[in-house]
Subunit: 238 residues, 6 copies
């Protein structure tokens, strides 16, 4: 089997992570996964939200697509006065995933917001946002330590994410838009550097899927995430 | 191990499904899962949304909690002018799950909206909405066939959902609110009557989880869903 | 003259008031007036709004219909980003009516919000909300006294409400939906246990009405309200 | 008893109705009732709303206060993104009242919107809006007849409105702001030229009120409305 | 060349500035410029916004058109839930212009909001709002001094505004609606009593314009503004 | 005098215009002016808005800043449910400027929307949006001609924009953020390739400015715009 873009079934698209594409955020990366491009900016603010326990901090995320990130222009949320349900769902997922990377008790009185703005969308924008958003978050944390704001680095785990799916009855890793559009099953995994799951979300689009298929897709994701983490590590520790 | 409410680790809460609690919707049920109560109403409208292929129909869902469904009163969405992100996420899940139950090409020019309004929330409201919402949807479809609007019943699969989680390192089925609040891992499955997954969503709340744990939780859900489907079947075919 | 449902011109529909249908609110009732069903939940919160005099409290109400409470499904307010004008008008009426029942100076620093959610609407939802809402409010006040939060019960009057109207030139009590739809005149009274008016709202829908007709309708309401108060009393003092 | 502004208990404030204060609307008046000033503009548009029966038309109203119409500045609705509940209630009342003045079947395919914008508020703005709004509506209808758009004038009744209330246990007509602020009972009547009620709305603010008191207040309103109609007639037929 | 309304190319429309048209604001004027009528109300509030330096105050403006201020009725902003872009732009301009008139350090802890509500629009509403708004602001400041709230009057400059434009290749001052509709170039100037510019905004509507044309239009505006300031002075110092 | 970044008073910042940074829009550029970076995307849609004359088309623009485009993070418009007044003003300016570049009668039945999203803001974002937006628009038009959708290219003029200001009494071209923050006068010009003005907007921030100063600033802008147009030309015709 050959995929539409010539990849093997278990092969990631070309990943590129550019740091400091913009200069104001405490941490920022422009991540490209094939033609998907997401600008991830981590901003530190010196307050913690009300719902957070005294003496700890918070990490949250926002997700949005530029109007012409896609094949067709879509209206901005503000012109409809509604955050799209899809964006609401995705930014909650990113926030939960990134909180799993840090020890919030080491961020006392701070909020870090990771803005993920999709400049170009070609499938896999939510997982790219998590993978890139983690690097932006880690850069911001490093900066806080370097500047003496924090004594210990709150990052306790690497976190990365990828999708896998079944297209034409064939499991494959990291679906691009065209594969995603015709996928029968679509599954995203967020994992840490212990090979453990933080989030799993799977959807039967064209048909339901067996428990065995589900396991195969998780295994594919596990492979991809290991590769993504190697790239994250090269940037952050390189 | 004994659970807070005396159940065994793989035991569902008491489930009750009352049909025709309200009389105007084409299909309606009041489903109780322990103390969780959700009113599920399926409404038939004679148009199909624009994005739907000519000659087919649509099934969608809306989810909301009454202000005092919970331990504390929460403000209505309308007073904040924002649909809560959590509701947006849940109603998208319910909609996808229920669409997997029907053959949309057998609903030409129709939209069925399943409104899931939580009257009392004690954990598991999204899975109760799917399990109860399926019955409401099936009742509405049956009515359309009985009235001659549809020739063939578009329901092709039973669909039900349940959660499982890890609490105090112990996997257990169908978490109630108190268990859910302290769960380390929380995982929801939506399955059909072929024992296949339609949706799976798992989250590590307190910690990440291994692939093996994930499988155990899915197995627990599978057991619960079989029991739920027996109840659905008793009502619809009884 | 016989009415559509066989009642006499001055006869109420069958009234049922179920307490504790849901368990979290400090006071709650499910009131049925014929086919109209309203869930009334009184929630106590430990703050008073800014506009309230120091040392006193507040009672307020919110009113909403579930999307399929009626013969046709209506869109949720949140999807239109607007509270319906009708709901705004009705919840202001309920709030004023229930405040007349209590001595606000005996609720220092507290707010009680009575949520009236119509599960099924068949005419008379606003008056059912007041009649049922009063019972929920009184139950909440009783609880506050029982728990020692309040020393004296702030309820100073029973409050109930009913409609009367002119249909086919015939005055009648407690219009159901079908009567309401073709009513020439529609009038609601809210009264206390001294036979005094708290609110009166009358509308000529098909034609204007004489002062004499207005008095007849008020008298019909007075009769109905006495009967409703007997039921309220049976529940609260029974 | 002398009133704060020297009036007798059954005396209206000074009423002034200036036509053509603005020149674009098909009908417009600036009505002053004491210090209350409302600009009422009737606009004709060549469409009928969907809910209206084929071949007929519609009359509707909108009500708003300028930010500094009152003793203190209030924020505009748009800055809160919410139509105030009070405005929603009042504009529904004005709309119902003005529709009672016309035969909608004589306005085929037309909508007349009467905008009532309070420039200065000193009590009685809703009744001034109805009394002034009727004149604006009648002027617009006359213009439509004069221009040959309509063959018959759709106005079938004069309509005017006034308030009465109980202040310090004394019933009085046409409350100004200071009286209104301390009123025990406040009641508005909308009547036609047959001495019949179109709308009645009474509220016990400080206390409930007897049926007899209610009658007295209605009688006071009847007297005031007759005087208002004489002024309307002088302008429209003068 | 004769203009549509008989004016000379460098002639203002008839200007009328009526003070105290409404009585609650600390300063108010109804300004008419030909058929354009704007009610300008300056309201003093005893707080300063957060972004303002400690010990100083703020002046801001809001601008709105009544629905039937124009030839056709327009929907209210609140019914669209959006402040019109045009209003947003204009109220920012008015605010900047009026702040240039005062020394904010002499308004410690105060906010003055100038509401400009267009009752009738016939071209030049933004410049009329500035010219009239300045008088309302100056009246409010005078009142604060007279009442001893302020020791020194914070007004340091007179401020007025006017438009000029090119219509049929002819530069002219103070365009009325009909001229404005067919103008090739439209330019507004806000100036102070030193003959200096505070704001300049010019737009080529039908065609671009040379630097020389731009200067001619500014000169026309300068002439008109001198005349407007003479009127302002007569009212404020007369 | 030396400027903060070493430029001469009449020197532009380093300008870079990258085409095809994203691939879906019909035309797109990433323009950098010093540290200011704006992504400009022109999208073609096959409809014309209602207000447009039959047989012609429309060009419009939207402007937004990413949350962390600036030194401090700002909340997204959607979380406030309001388009910022500043964005509303700027996008209207961009739209008017770009419409001056094209003959709308040569875009029959088409709308081109130019989205200007500021990735990094360091002063001059609105003028960068116009200069870059023009290139995106021209690329889109060229594509429409190349694909045979349009027979003649509707672009009739080059359009570019720049700011000039007075800082410490010194006129200078193309203010960066630090200069802009302390500018006494700020003036933007939009010009075409005939050396004519399309838009001019000048504001006295710290003080008013003379007509002579205004001329000087316009001259500075003219010089800058000629240089910008040379760059535009090199890209579009190179």
């Amino acid at each position: 089997m050959t995929r539409i873009d010539g990849r093997k079934f278990n092969e990631l698209r070309k990943i590129e992570i550019v740091t400091d594409f913009v200069k104001f955020p405490e941490g920022s990366v422009l991540i490209s996964c094939g033609n998907t491009k997401v600008l991830c900016c981590a901003s530190v603010e010196y307050f913690a939200p009300k719902h957070v326990e005294e003496g700890t901090g918070w990490v949250t995320a926002e997700y949005s697509m530029l109007p012409r990130a896609n094949r067709e222009r879509s209206r901005r949320d503000i012109s409809k006065l509604k955050l799209s349900g899809r964006s609401a769902e995705i930014q909650r997922l990113i926030g939960r995933s990134l909180r799993a990377a840090v020890d919030l008790s080491l961020l006392p009185g701070l909020t870090i917001t990771v803005d993920c703005d999709v400049l170009q969308g070609d499938g896999g924008t939510r997982t790219a946002s998590i993978t890139g958003g983690f690097v932006a978050l880690a850069l911001a944390c490093k900066k806080l330590v370097d500047e003496g704001v924090l004594i210990r680095n709150p990052v306790k785990h690497y976190v990365a994410a990828i999708s896998a799916g079944i297209v034409d009855e064939q499991p494959m890793l990291d679906l691009c838009y065209e594969e995603d559009s015709s996928a029968q099953v679509d599954l995203n995994c967020v994992m840490d550097d212990d090979d453990c799951l933080i989030e799993i979300q799977g959807t039967g689009e064209g048909r339901a899927f067996t428990l065995k298929e589900q396991q195969e897709l998780v295994e594919l994701c596990r492979k991809g995430i290991r590769e993504l983490m190697a790239m994250q590590r090269a940037i952050l520790e390189g």
